[in-house]
Amino acid sequence: MTPSSRSATALPPADRVVPPSGFTARLTGFTSAAMAFLAVFALALSLASGRLADRWQAALAQSATIRISAPPSQIEAQTAAVLAILETTPGVADARALTEAEIAALLAPWLGPDLPLDALPLPRIVEIVETPDGFDANGLRMRLAAEAPGAVLDDHTRWRRPLVAAAERLRLLGLIAIALIGAATAAMITLAAQAALAANAQVIRVLRLVGARDAWIARAFVRRFTRRAFLGAALGTAAGMAAVAALPATDAAGAFLTGLGFAGLHWLWPLVLPPLAALVAWAATRAAALRELRRIT
């Protein structure tokens, strides 16, 4: 070998200074891969239930109506009273009385198109657009009973409201699952790093004898674990995404469940997992290494 080519390899890179330790590195890679795989599903669950919640929420917004039946002499006054009440009701974004033509259109399927409207005491219908939080239906009923006795609140689609809450809870559970997966990964990598440090006590001793600072020694370990975690998580994420993509497509009927999967740009979210795993590994290994190094004197 020529002197120059040998010299180029004479300074070992920091992570080669620590001998490759088989099982701790493999454990880190495997854990990261498995955890990333699981995290992809937790993410898919979270995003899918988020979509479900949003869609149901949107459907809920136009859910409620108020029907006012009263003698012709009172109907105008009661309609005005109902609109006034709705204006001061929290949770009501908008309220509008339907025109006679709109009501006739609604009734036409039932009563035929040639209805002599003038001959019938048609009820008035007020359509309510809710805010996302919704209104207090019981409170509204009580006020209506007091001020507009002919008014009946019809909120038959409100049964979906608990479903929206459930979907939102599911989204939160997905996020909690991701956090737990992260914590479990950190714990496993911490253990692996501790084992690696313990197995390399003699190497650490030599590094110290030649003037290595704790931070430098820690870095030598941290780099290796960070790289392993990143590669493992990248593999796990790819496998997870492939598995999600391979889920049977949901047809219109199954769409009730919206299908567990990613939609559109949501496919980019899992790509966050490998860097995130690397970050978790970096933080966990660094903390473990500095702690262990303080212990080993």
Partner: protein, 225 residues
């Protein structure tokens, strides 16, 4: 540079030695002798801060060891080159990489290391063995490599523990010549050795102080040398 004041050390049992006072002055050349097990290696470990004394004070470059942080000790060790009795190499790195290790951990760049390393390996006669792994080296090769590693940071002080333990007489003299050369460059040298012939050979070239651990005390050796 390095001072021991009324230092004692024990490994938990009785004291190995006590009341040791020693100042390694700049440019000095010291020998440390004493029977096997007297505590020569232990005394060296105190001098570079691997051990803390059970009594008394150690000062590295003016700072009491007890008041130094771990980082302070790391930086001080870069100014103290040590040839360990058992060499202390990393067996998975090549000889050249081991010699360059102090530069690596100090964050030196490859370019900085380049010239130093080639020159140094040639100086200790190991330029052809640069890629060998430590377990494949002979005892003498190991000790010369250890000396190369000890001096690569251009330290102010060099502590050598039995550096000629595995060498034949010719090689011992060569190594001594290297250390004398370093001393003439202004380095402080301390050699722990059993080898009285080596001490005599050194005294014919330079003025050396000979210290001796005996009866749990450090004494200046007399005219028998």
């Amino acid at each position: 540079m390095i001072e021991l004041q009324k230092v004692a050390h024990s490994y938990g049992g009785g004291e190995l030695f006590a009341d040791v006072t020693l100042a390694l002055s700049p440019g000095g050349f010291f020998f440390l002798t004493g029977p096997s097990g007297a505590g020569k290696t232990t005394l060296l470990k105190l001098l570079y801060g691997e051990l803390s004394p059970s009594a008394g004070q150690v000062r590295l470059f003016g700072t009491p060891l007890a008041r130094m942080s771990r980082d302070d000790i790391a930086f001080a060790r870069r100014r103290i080159g040590v040839v360990h009795q058992d060499c202390q190499f990393l067996d998975h790195l090549s000889l050249a990489e081991n010699v360059a290790l102090p530069l690596t951990v100090a964050g030196a760049t490859t370019a900085e290391a380049d010239a130093d390393l080639d020159e140094l390996l040639a100086w200790v006669g190991l330029d052809t063995r640069a890629d060998a792994l430590p377990p494949a080296l002979s005892g003498g090769e190991r000790q010369r490599a250890a000396l190369a590693r000890a001096v690569i940071m251009a330290p102010d002080v060099i502590l050598a523990d039995e550096p000629t333990g595995n060498l034949d007489w010719d090689m011992s003299l060569r190594l001594l010549t290297l250390l004398v050369e370093l001393n003439r460059m202004g380095k402080t040298i301390l050699i722990a050795t059993h080898d009285l012939a080596l001490i005599r050979a050194a005294k014919s070239q330079i003025t050396a102080r000979v210290l001796r651990i005996a009866g749990r005390r450090l004494q200046t050796a007399g005219a028998e040398l």
